[in-house]
């Protein structure tokens, strides 16, 4: 009698794992897509730099000459 290494239960688990993998990949794609859309919606992508919590002197208004 042939020994079946794979049980029907393993097939079911594989289906679940693949489904979960696809869902996680879909979630990553959604977050990435949302990020792209929100950044583009800013108009000037440079504005996005102000959200990264890092001091960027180039974003500060420059003092006028003579002051």
């Amino acid at each position: 009698m042939a020994i079946h290494v794979e049980h029907e239960l393993h097939g079911r688990r594989r289906g679940r794992n693949r489904g979960l993998g696809l869902l996680l990949a879909g979630f990553v794609a959604i977050v990435f897509g949302l990020t792209v859309v929100k950044v583009i919606a800013l108009g000037d992508a440079g504005k996005f730099e102000s959200f990264d919590h890092v001091a960027r002197p180039q974003l500060e208004p420059q003092p006028e000459a003579g002051q």
Binding site: L9, G15, R16, I30, V37
Partner: protein
């Protein structure tokens, strides 16, 4: 779960769930109605939404609806097991453990609400959270086993999606979104009771008070007519708001006359007549009620398309 389930024990083995069993927890049929009405609410709003944002918003609303379905199945597992129609659902059939449904429902509820908030605005997310709360706590936990009016108040949960769609687009609530809510809210009781009149349910055995069983068919027939009469001004009134138009108004007049005629026919009948022709009229009116809601929302969509096209 472990491989221990491979070993027969003599007792009925606990099955390990397939992906489809988890999906069944989400009540896909209910989800499809939610997605459709939320999509119409979003598309007829006067503020355009970026297609991807709109897609994510509808996905969140669908996931939220599915999550509330899972929580409903978790709570109602005991009565589902007693009724033929629901005995094969994943939890009573033993394919999904109650704790799994609870965990999945809670996780996805939070997930859908937070993602909708991040993608759109706090109002839309708040409305989604309230809808889930309403369906699970107000309807499932509190009212369903308490009063035969459960379907009236519980119907509000199914009425919120177009309001959420509208909030996604506009960031607010307006007379249009309130009337879309009211349309579904007032439609649910006659739709459901028309069905309850001809479906032999075993709600009574499960201890759920349905109007047909607590008050009988005569009172249910009265209720169908009364709620349909109350529904008509709501449906016609929506046609005079900014999202109404000639297509909607014409459709609403025809569909309301049709539904009203059906409700009148149901009211006129006696139980003896209904049994004699195997509930022919009740079944017909139930079908009409489905066309009724679908027709109204499609008409809103057509008028919105015509407005965009400058017609």
């Amino acid at each position: 779960m472990t491989d221990v389930t491979l070993q027969p024990t003599g007792q009925e083995a606990v099955q390990e769930a397939e992906l489809g069993d988890y999906f069944a927890l989400f009540k896909p049929r209910v989800m499809s109605l939610v997605v459709f009405t939320a999509l119409v609410g979003l598309l007829v709003a006067p503020v355009p939404v970026h297609p991807f944002i709109g897609f994510v918003a509808i996905l969140c609303i669908a996931v939220g609806a599915g999550a509330s379905g899972a929580l409903n199945m978790w709570w109602d597992a005991d009565i589902d097991a007693k009724m033929k129609r629901t005995a094969r659902r994943p939890i009573p059939a033993g394919r999904v453990q109650p704790g799994e449904a609870l965990g999945l429902g809670l996780t996805l509820s939070v997930f859908a609400t937070v993602l909708l908030w991040l993608a759109t605005d706090a109002l839309a997310a708040g409305l989604l959270a309230f809808t889930i709360f309403f369906y699970v706590v107000i309807y499932s936990v509190w009212l369903k086993r308490l009063t035969p009016q459960n379907i009236v108040i519980g119907g509000a949960a199914g009425a919120f999606p177009p309001m959420i769609g509208w909030a996604v687009a506009t960031g607010g609530v307006s007379v249009e979104s309130v009337l879309m809510f009211a349309l579904i809210f007032m439609w649910t009781p006659p739709h459901f009771w028309a069905l309850a009149l001809f479906v032999k349910s075993d709600y009574g055995d499960a201890g759920v008070p349905m109007l047909t069983e607590t008050h009988g068919a005569r009172v249910t027939r009265n209720h169908v007519l009364a709620y349909t009469i109350l529904l008509v001004p709501v449906a016609i009134g929506l046609g005079f708001t900014s999202i109404g138009g000639p297509v909607y108004l014409a459709t609403a007049v025809v569909l309301n006359l049709w539904f009203l005629k059906g409700a009148w026919d149901i009211w006129k009948r006696t139980d003896e007549l209904a049994i004699a022709d195997n509930f022919k009229v009740e079944k017909q009116v139930f079908k009409v009620s489905l066309y009724y809601l679908f027709g109204h929302f499609v008409a809103l969509l057509i008028d919105a398309v015509l407005r965009v096209g400058g017609v």
